[in-house]
C-alpha cells in the first residue's frame, strides 16, 4: 500500500494508457458499416491505427515505468549523457519507416479518389441554406450549365443584373444551354441512386460552403459557391442513409439533412422516370397575370422562398401551398382564417400571430400598397 502511494503518479499514468486500450477494445463506437467501394479508406485507417496505437502504448508505458523506476532518492544520481547519436538516429529511422508505411496506402487511395472512372454516372448535388436539391443530366448525359445572374450589364453608373435563381428556375439553369433541357430536377432532399454503379457527385452551392456527406459512404467534399467540386463512389448495398452537411453553413447547419436511398437498378429507374425534366417544368409553368407575376417577383427578391415553400413542404416557415382561406391554429391555441387581413398582418408584424409549431424568427417587412396587393394576389394564386 505504501508503495502504491509512493508510486501513484506512475501507476495512474500507466492506468491511463491501459485504460485507453481497454476503452478502445470494448468501445461500441466504431466506424459505421461501410456502404461503398471505399474499403481501402478503412484499411488505411487500420494501418495507421495499429502503428500509432503500438507507439502510444510503448511510449506511454515506458514513461510510466521510468517514473516508477527512477523516482527521486536523496542519494540517487541521474545518468549524465547529453546525447546518444546512435540511439537518436535509430529512432529517427524507425519513425520515418512508420511514416512511410502509413503514408503510402493513403496516397494510393487518394490517387483513386481524385480520378473518376470514365463510366461514372453524374449526379449534381445542389446545396442551399439549409436543404439539398439534386439534378441528373438526363438523356444526353451532360449537365446543363447554370448561372446565378443573367443579363449582367456594366455601365459607368453601376452594374445591373437579373437574378437567375428564382422560384420559377430554382436550379438557375442557363437559358442558352440546350444541354439543360433534359436535365432531371429533384427539388427535394430525397435522393435515389442505383446500386453498383460508379457515381460522380458534382457539387454546387448557391450560397455558402456546404459539405455533402453520408457517413456510410465515407467520401465527402465541400461545395464551394463560385466553382464546382466533385468526388465519386460506388454504392455496395441498398438501404436508406442519412445525408449530413459537414461544413458549418450558418444557423441552420444542423438541420441541413436529407435522405439517400440506394436502390436496385430497376427501382432507381422507376423513380427517376417519375421526376420532371427542366423542359417539362418550363412547359408546366402557366403564364401568370401581371399582378401575380409581380407578386412572385417581390417574393423572390425578398427571399421569402428561403423559408416558405410553394410545394407543401415545411421549411422554416409554413408553406404557402393551400394557405389561403384555410383555418389555421396559432401557437396560443386560437384559430384564425388565413385571409388578406391575416396575411398582411403577418408580413408587417410577423411574430404576433405565429402559426403553431413555428418559431418567431421572421423579420418584419414593409411594402408599398401596390406591392403588398401583388404579393397577396400571388399567395392567393399559389394556394389554388
Amino acid at each position: 500500500m505504501r508503495k502504491i502511494l509512493d508510486h501513484h503518479v506512475a501507476i495512474l499514468l500507466g492506468l491511463v494508457v491501459i485504460g485507453s486500450v481497454i476503452f478502445n477494445v470494448w468501445s461500441p463506437w466504431q466506424f459505421t458499416e461501410i456502404a461503398s467501394n471505399w474499403e481501402f479508406i478503412d484499411f488505411t485507417v487500420k494501418v495507421t491505427w495499429w502503428i500509432t496505437g503500438v507507439a502510444f502504448v510503448l511510449l506511454g508505458l515506458f514513461m510510466a515505468w521510468a517514473i516508477w523506476r527512477y523516482k527521486y532518492h536523496e542519494s540517487g544520481e541521474s545518468h549524465y549523457e547529453p546525447e546518444h547519436p546512435v540511439l537518436e538516429s535509430w529512432l529517427t529511422i524507425i519513425t520515418s519507416i512508420g511514416v512511410v508505411i502509413m503514408l503510402a496506402p493513403g496516397l494510393i487511395a487518394w490517387d483513386d479518389y481524385v480520378q473518376v472512372p470514365s463510366d461514372a454516372m453524374e449526379v449534381e448535388v445542389y446545396g442551399e441554406q439549409w436543404t439539398w436539391k439534386f439534378r441528373f443530366p438526363g438523356e444526353d448525359g451532360i449537365l446543363g450549365a447554370t448561372t446565378v445572374k443573367k443579363n449582367v450589364d456594366r455601365t459607368f453608373d453601376g452594374t445591373t443584373y437579373e437574378p437567375n435563381i428564382t422560384s420559377l428556375n430554382p436550379f438557375g439553369m442557363r437559358d442558352d444551354d440546350p444541354h439543360g433541357d433534359d436535365d432531371i430536377l429533384i427539388a427535394s432532399n430525397v435522393l435515389h441512386l442505383p446500386l453498383d454503379r460508379n457515381i460522380k457527385v458534382v457539387l454546387r452551392s448557391k450560397d455558402v460552403l456546404h459539405d455533402f456527406w453520408v457517413p456510410e459512404i465515407r467520401a465527402k467534399m465541400d461545395m464551394v459557391p463560385g466553382m464546382i467540386t466533385y468526388f465519386w463512389f460506388r454504392p455496395t448495398r441498398t438501404g436508406e442513409f442519412e445525408i449530413l452537411c459537414a461544413e458549418l453553413c450558418g444557423r441552420g447547419h444542423h438541420i441541413m439533412r436529407g435522405t439517400m436511398y440506394i436502390d436496385t437498378q430497376e427501382d432507381f429507374e422507376t423513380w427517376l422516370d417519375a421526376q420532371v425534366t427542366w423542359a417539362e417544368m418550363k412547359a408546366g409553368q402557366k403564364p401568370e397575370e401581371p399582378i401575380v407575376a409581380k407578386g412572385r417577383q417581390i417574393a423572390d427578391q425578398n427571399g421569402c422562398f428561403a423559408c416558405h415553400s410553394l410545394d407543401g413542404t415545411s421549411v422554416v416557415g409554413p408553406t404557402w401551398k393551400g394557405l389561403w382561406g384555410r383555418e389555421i391554429t396559432l401557437s396560443d391555441g386560437a384559430t384564425v382564417i388565413a385571409d388578406e387581413e391575416y396575411i398582411v398582418e403577418s408580413i408587417v408584424e410577423p411574430n404576433v400571430k405565429l402559426v403553431e409549431g413555428f418559431g418567431s424568427v421572421m423579420t418584419p417587412y414593409a411594402f408599398e400598397d401596390d406591392e403588398m396587393e401583388a404579393l397577396v394576389r400571388f399567395l392567393q394564386e399559389t394556394a389554388e
Binding site: L143, A145, T146, T147, R174, D176, D177, V202, R204, G226, M227, I228, T229
Partner: protein, 121 residues
C-alpha cells in the same frame, strides 16, 4: 563594382540611381511597344527583379551586410513562392470549372473609355 562601391559609396549611389531610371524606362518600353505573351512577362519580371535587387543591395546596404543578416532576411520569403505557385495552379482549376459548368465565356478585353481610344497598340 562592389569593390568600388565600398570605397566610393556616393558614386555607387548615383550609378544605381541612374540604373533604376534605365530599368524603369526599359520596363515602361515593354508596355509601350506592346510586347505580348511570355516575352512580355519575362521582360517585366527581369526588370522588376533587377530594380528590386539594386534597391536592396545598394540603397538598403544589403551588399555590405554580413552574410548572416543577408540569409536571415532573404531566405524566409522563399516559402511565399510555394504559396504563389500553388495558388496559381489552383486558380486555373477553379477558372476551368467556371467555364465548364457555369457556361462563362471569356470576355474580350473591353473597349477603353472614349477619351483613350487612340492609344497606340
Amino acid at each position: 563594382m562592389a569593390e568600388v562601391g565600398q570605397q566610393h559609396p556616393i558614386k555607387v549611389y548615383f550609378l544605381v540611381w541612374a540604373l533604376l531610371f534605365v530599368f524603369s524606362i526599359a520596363s515602361y518600353l515593354v508596355d509601350f511597344f506592346a510586347f505580348e505573351g511570355h516575352l512580355r512577362w519575362f521582360l517585366i519580371v527581369v526588370f522588376m527583379l533587377l530594380k528590386a535587387g539594386f534597391i536592396v543591395a545598394v540603397f538598403m546596404h544589403m551588399k555590405w551586410e554580413r552574410p548572416t543578416l543577408i540569409t536571415a532576411i532573404l531566405v524566409p520569403p522563399l516559402v511565399l513562392i510555394v504559396l504563389m505557385y500553388l495558388l496559381a495552379y489552383e486558380a486555373d482549376y477553379a477558372w476551368a470549372s467556371r467555364i465548364v459548368y457555369f457556361g462563362d465565356v471569356v470576355e474580350p478585353i473591353p473597349e477603353p473609355p472614349p477619351s483613350h481610344a487612340a492609344v497606340p497598340h
